[in-house]
């Protein structure tokens, strides 16, 4: 029923918007499973004691319900603004997987997929009925399309990526320090006894 050929046929005959909708809902399901997995994993350990140990080095760290938020001591400032109003501390989100503390991935790069789509909706006559198999027939001003999507990705890059830099320490110092700390912590010491 769900053979490879059938799936490919279904994918090709669907509209682009429908495929994107399916991808978005799959991501939603993944997020739900991921959050429940992380909460379940956190319940197996004595998290308060673990947090206390991390707070010895980074006092501002906090515990959210799904992960541990580590905030560094180095102040970061905006790089090319003359007035340094915006400041913030370096930070990291950490969660438990396979009996190890690991860093949370950032999914915001997925927004780059929306750049060509936005341009398609602007330039195509009827973007809602555009099917996946007809994508190669789209005759736009090819160059304007490519340039436009590059510009929109630059805008997304500007809004999502932070352009801050540290004053007192080299940028990678926090990264190395936290990695060393996370490797030093042995999670088996914090495991709760199952009754």
């Amino acid at each position: 029923m769900f053979s490879k050929k059938n799936l490919l046929h279904y994918f090709k005959n669907n509209t682009v918007f429908q495929v994107l909708r399916i991808v978005f809902f799959l991501f939603l399901c993944y997020a739900c499973v991921d959050v429940s997995y992380k909460v379940n994993e956190l319940n197996k350990y004595d998290v308060n004691r673990l947090l206390a140990d991390i707070q010895q080095k980074y006092p501002k760290s906090e515990l959210t319900f799904q992960n541990i938020y580590i905030e560094g001591n180095h102040l970061k400032e905006h790089s090319y603004q003359e007035h340094y109003d915006e400041t913030y501390f370096e930070s990291k989100y950490v969660y438990i997987k396979d009996n190890k503390l690991q860093q949370e991935p950032n999914f915001l790069w997925l927004l780059y997929g929306f750049a060509p789509l936005m341009f398609l909706t602007i330039f195509h006559e009827d973007p809602r009925t555009l099917k996946v198999k007809d994508l190669n027939k789209v005759s736009l001003f090819t160059w304007s399309w490519i340039f436009g999507s590059i510009i929109i990705s630059l805008i997304i890059y500007n809004t999502t990526e932070n352009k801050y830099h540290t004053h007192r320490a080299s940028p990678n110092e926090f990264k190395y320090e936290t990695e060393a700390l996370l490797n030093k912590i042995n999670l088996i010491d914090y495991k709760l006894n199952e009754k």
Partner: protein
Amino acid sequence: MIEMYRYINACKITSNVIALDHTDNRVLNFDMWLALSLGLLLIIQVFSYNRQDTLELCFTILLLALVFIISKYKNKICHKSVVFNRKKGTICFKRNFLNIDRTFMFSKIEIITKNKVVSDDTDTYRYKSYYIKEKYSNEKYKICETNDNQSFDYFINNYMKSDVHSLKKLIKYDKKEDPELKKVHHL
């Protein structure tokens, strides 16, 4: 004649009833505004789910539910239709967004025409828009728009006054059986 029918979003035209339905066009606009305002915010919120607090995650879930509900009932929210009934001599104007549901007697209203000009750098576009206005009151209700060289005003006046000559010439129309509109089908 049929070009004008398409322009004014006519749904059904017979010798007794003229029904205009603007819902489809309004839904398209509504979709765009929903995607630009709430949709983008929702996508950013969902992609950053793993760095969120309890409160922020609640906000994301509420936003998700809100967008889902709004997009499910968007056809009801955007509904707008105008029905001209020749035998009863009435006009039914129905719009769900501000909850307007009124019937006018054709003898007690007048139809106002406004010429509009949209000028670009290279071209100027002209079109007319038509409004219902009750005598002795200031409220206006927009019915439809037509091209510059078409006149819905003249057509509907003749139709409602049962002008024999124009009723003979009337072309019957149904939106579902229009071959031109069948080519463009939406999701």
